[in-house]
Amino acid sequence: MINQIIYWVLVIGFQVLVLNHLDLSSYIYPQVFVTLLLTLPLHLKKTYQLLIGFGLGLVMDLFICSPGIHMSACLWFIVIRMLILNRQDLKEHANNKLEYSIRTAGFSPFIYTTLILIIFYHFYILWIEGIGNINIEYITKTGLSSSLLSLTIIGVFQALKLNKYP
């Protein structure tokens, strides 16, 4: 449990202190902290998942000063995650109270789920930030490049976990 809390604090700290101040390009705006929602334990009730998503979004909004934007995106993230995971056979892992990862879900389903959720999250954030004055080109470039970087970092996280608990 303590390890889990430390992991959450580290990921949030990495997002807030490092990634949010990354100045690689105006098109790169990675949101890696959503890996915490992606890898939530499978046995968690839907209500708790929603509340955790809401809470994590609230924390990010407090740091980024974007009230409501990450909260809303995190809630949608959780709902879409529920819909995707319902189509995957994970009952056994849920009974064993495991978290969602490459090891539990398998390589392809995990990549598929992560790809959809990460791309959705970035595009949703960019859409709601530019609502009413959408620049399709900017959103496409930023969404795709940010998603790519986020996916790479999340992949590294998963690889580290696999190495730690082979």
Partner: protein, 273 residues
């Protein structure tokens, strides 16, 4: 009640999601200046559309009183048309002769029944003997001549429409009175026929036909219609003129009854002659 509770319990995560998203929406559009401005703009558009809709509905429901107001405005227009000879009362306006003696009064009335498809059309107005209306009084609309009162009871009067084969009025064209009859032959709706105008007269399409001095029922200069067709038959020395009535009898709703205050006296004089 138990089923309701079970339903809520089963779908609690959906309800929670909707509640939390509502909170998020509120925060996004109230605390972020850019999103707030966008929302204000959008809501302004929606509000103005709803306001316009409600205004249109209100205007439609208010048409009757607006028509009454329009009738009063038309009275004002009559006043401007005859500044030297009209006198207005609350419910009537009067045309005054040069000695400042009221020759004509006009009483606003509402058409409650109307026909325009028969050979002898009649319409009924909501003013009668109690309002001073009697047989043989002229009736005009805001556009021009409408008819002549046939009979009256206490509150209503039957009016012979201009579209009646028994209606005969002397036309006044281009400042000249033609002592020939203008009749409706029931061939065309809103079209009268004038025969007996000599071909030597200068008559053009669109010329205004109005009332002249030869009628005791109407003041001079009230429009009857416009010349819409000139039939020039070679063997005939007279034009056959077609006249489009100024009043549209299908939409006739508001009229004025013209009361000639000296009708009896003048009629006696004419009969004695």
């Amino acid at each position: 009640m138990q089923r309701l509770i079970a339903f809520i319990e089963y779908n609690f995560h959906i309800i929670l999601f909707v509640i939390l998203q509502t909170i998020c929406g509120f925060l996004v559009f109230s605390l972020n200046p850019y999103q707030q401005a966008i929302f204000s703009k959008a809501s302004l558009g929606v509000t103005s559309t709803i306001n316009k809709l409600s205004s249109d509905v209100y205007s439609y429901l208010n048409l009757k009183s607006q028509n009454t107001l329009l009738q009063n405005q038309i009275s004002q227009q009559f006043k401007e048309s005859f500044p030297q000879s009209l006198h207005y009362l609350n419910d009537t306006f009067s045309i005054v002769d040069t000695s400042m003696h009221h020759l004509f009064d006009a009483i606003p009335a509402h058409v409650v029944f109307n026909t325009a498809h028969k050979a002898n059309n009649v319409f009924i107005i909501n003013k009668g003997l109690d309002h001073g209306i009697k047989k043989n009084m002229g009736v005009i609309s805001s556009q021009g001549i409408a008819g002549v009162v046939l009979s009256s009871n206490q509150n209503y009067s039957a009016v012979m429409s201009l579209l009646n084969t028994n209606m005969k009025i002397t036309p006044h064209i281009n400042g000249q009175e033609y002592f020939t009859e203008m009749i409706w032959d029931n061939s065309k709706f809103n079209c009268l026929t004038i025969n007996g105008v000599n071909k030597l007269e200068q008559i053009n399409l669109g010329d205004v036909v109005s009332t002249g001095n030869s009628s005791l029922l109407f003041p001079k200069g009230i429009p009857i219609g416009n010349i819409s067709k000139i039939n020039n038959t070679p063997k005939n020395q007279y034009f056959e003129l077609e006249l489009k009535t100024a009043t549209n009898f299908r939409d006739l709703e508001y009229v004025f009854v013209i009361i000639n205050n000296e009708y009896l006296g003048l009629n006696d004089l004419l009969l004695n002659d």
